[in-house]
């Protein structure tokens, strides 16, 4: 079994085309890549909102916001 189109370098190099593995799966790779990229944005929006919600909860305790603004650790 081989994952690549190249079986020898001892040939005329002008006869060699793509040298990456699994030639022919590029369409699937693009779909997976786009899902990864869009999925990352969706995760990040949720993560950012959750983080701010938690921080606002912390800062809503008496004195905490002023403490943070005076650069003291909470």
């Amino acid at each position: 079994m081989s994952m690549t189109n190249v079986d020898s370098w001892a040939v005329d190099l002008t006869t060699i085309g793509p040298i990456y593995p699994m030639v022919g799966t590029e369409g699937l790779l693009v779909i997976l890549g786009v899902v990864f990229w869009i999925g990352w944005h969706i995760w990040q929006f949720r993560f950012e909102k959750r983080t701010y919600d938690e921080d606002i909860k912390l800062l809503s305790e008496p004195g905490k916001l002023e403490q943070a603004m005076r650069n003291h650790k909470l």
């Binding site: 189109n5 190099l13 002008t14 006869t15 060699i16 085309g17 793509p18 040298i19 990456y20 030639v23 022919g24 590029e26 369409g27 790779l29 693009v30 890549g33 786009v34 990864f36 990229w37 990352w40 944005h41 990040q44 929006f45 950012e48 909102k49 983080t51 701010y52 921080d55 606002i56 912390l58 800062l59 809503s60 916001l65 943070a68 603004m69 650069n71 650790k73 909470l74």
Partner: protein, 471 residues
């Protein structure tokens, strides 16, 4: 690659663009340092991550569609004589030419043997050089909006500017076959408009909806100066941007091409700009330095020696002269840069006062107004100059350059960002909550670390006492 000279030309070109990429990476390091230095301590790490993460996001989206846009959109589509998209099989993300390839016969029917022979070794480095321009465009927006934008919203804007709008403008006005070059005689050799004006316009579009930082304006409407927490970091950042600009400039050129391939006579080789009109590395090297000098001297004078603005206006000088820096006399480049620097400085503070726009690093002015003015000045100084070596192209004119500047700054820069951020604002995801802005963004991201640090410090003190080290 079928002759020795052909192979050497291709491999030299491949290496040339690779070098430009490495140099242009410094621009991004500079932007990160500059932004972090310009932010307040409570926002440093968030500011750093906001800029850093645009790198992967613009990179992958530029792979998926940005590169294809550049080759598919020179006609608009349907702006130039009703002509539509241009086929670009080497630039679609599923093309075999987007991966490692030695240029032999294609395995896919989508590309031809001529495609593989031409693009195999050039496609990747050419893509990367354009990608580094994309990072720069997105990063320009990043600086203007620090200390109050949500990262998620900014990163979508970064993808839009870095992988969509700027590359559409490049297809239109920074491509030898672009409709703006053909119809308007648009000339923007080192990207005054196609990178800087569009990014400045986009930054303004975001800022209109984002609003100023809390405390930026007094009740009487005058602005407070929110000073950089680390001016030294800001200046080193700008020095690095200058350094990376060397890569930016040479990446705008085609390093070696046969004269016969660009509509000229004779059998010599030459370097060209992106429009395939001849220039030399010497020309742009001298003009880069003279425009930097003009910007710095005028910047120092107009800002009364303020370091932040002197450095920024040095950059503004280069940006203003860049549209015509392949053709200007060096002294012309110096004066164009000086005029640009003065206008940029005055416009920044006028817009701040008049419209209450809080541009934290002056990005709209330095890049946006500098780029716009540079295009117009190039139209005057280069009036009548051929925009292309090929037949049927309009010559450079003041009105062609002015229309081009409006397209860059307002149509492709301001408008898309203003629409997108208006939507983000309407659903409440553009700006961070007020409490977070007051406490500082690093509280949100790093308060866990602060608690741990505090606990560690207490533990260290306890151990130090027990060891008798504290007296």
């Amino acid at each position: 690659m079928d002759t020795d000279i052909g192979a050497l030309t291709v491999i030299f070109t491949e290496f040339y663009y690779w070098l430009t990429v490495a140099l242009m990476f410094l621009i991004h390091i500079g932007f990160c340092m500059y932004e972090v230095g310009a932010s307040r301590q409570k926002n440093m790490m968030h500011t750093l991550m906001k800029n850093t993460m645009l790198i992967p996001l613009v990179t992958v989206s530029f792979f998926f569609f940005g590169w294809w846009i550049y080759f598919a959109f020179p006609n608009g589509p349907f702006i130039y004589k009703g002509m539509g998209l241009i086929a670009a099989p080497h630039a679609v993300p599923w093309s075999e030419l987007m991966g490692p390839h030695l240029g032999g016969p294609p395995v896919s029917d989508a590309v031809t043997a001529d495609d593989t022979a031409f693009w195999a070794r050039i496609n990747g480095v050419f893509w990367a050089a354009f990608l580094l321009f994309s990072w720069t465009a997105a990063s320009i927006v990043s600086g203007a909006v620090i200390e109050r934008v949500r990262s998620g919203a900014f990163w979508v804007v970064a993808v839009m500017v870095g992988s969509v709008t700027w590359i559409i403008d490049a297809a239109w006005g920074w491509h030898w076959d672009g409709w703006m070059v053909k119809l308007l005689g648009y000339h923007d050799a080192y990207a005054s408009g196609v990178i800087h004006a569009i990014a400045g316009g986009a930054a303004l579009g975001v800022l209109v909806h984002l609003g100023p930082r809390i405390g930026k304006f007094r009740k009487d409407g005058t602005a407070r100066d929110i000073v950089p927490h680390n001016p030294w970091l800001v200046t080193i950042g700008l020095f690095l941007i200058y350094t990376g600009f060397w890569g930016f400039y040479v990446a705008c050129n085609v390093p070696i091409i046969g004269a016969g391939d660009i509509g000229s006579a004779g059998a010599t080789f030459t370097a060209t700009n992106i429009y395939l009109t001849p220039t030399t590395l010497s020309a742009i090297t001298v003009n880069f330095l003279m425009s930097l000098a003009g910007g710095l001297m005028a910047g120092y004078t107009i800002s009364k020696g303020d370091a932040f603005w002197t450095y920024s206006l040095g950059l503004a000088g280069i940006i203003t002269a860049s549209a015509g820096n392949d053709l200007y006399h060096p002294i012309q480049a110096m004066f164009v840069a000086a005029i640009g620097a003065v206008c940029v400085y005055k416009l920044h503070f006028w817009v701040e006062r008049r419209f209450k726009i809080d541009d934290a690093v002056g990005a709209v002015a330095v890049h946006g107004y500098g780029g716009f003015i540079g295009l117009v000045l190039a139209g005057i100084l280069l009036w009548g100059h051929p925009s292309s070596g090929f037949e049927g192209y309009a010559a450079i004119t003041p009105w062609g350059q002015f229309i081009g500047a409006v397209i860059m700054f307002w149509v492709l820069g301001f408008l898309p960002a203003w629409i997108l951020c208006g939507f983000f604002k309407s659903i409440g995801i553009l700006r961070i909550p007020k409490e977070i802005e007051l406490a500082g963004l690093d509280l949100g991201d790093y308060h866990g670390r602060y608690l741990t640090e505090s606990e560690v410090t207490e533990a260290e003190l306890k151990e130090a006492r027990e060891a008798g080290l504290l007296r």
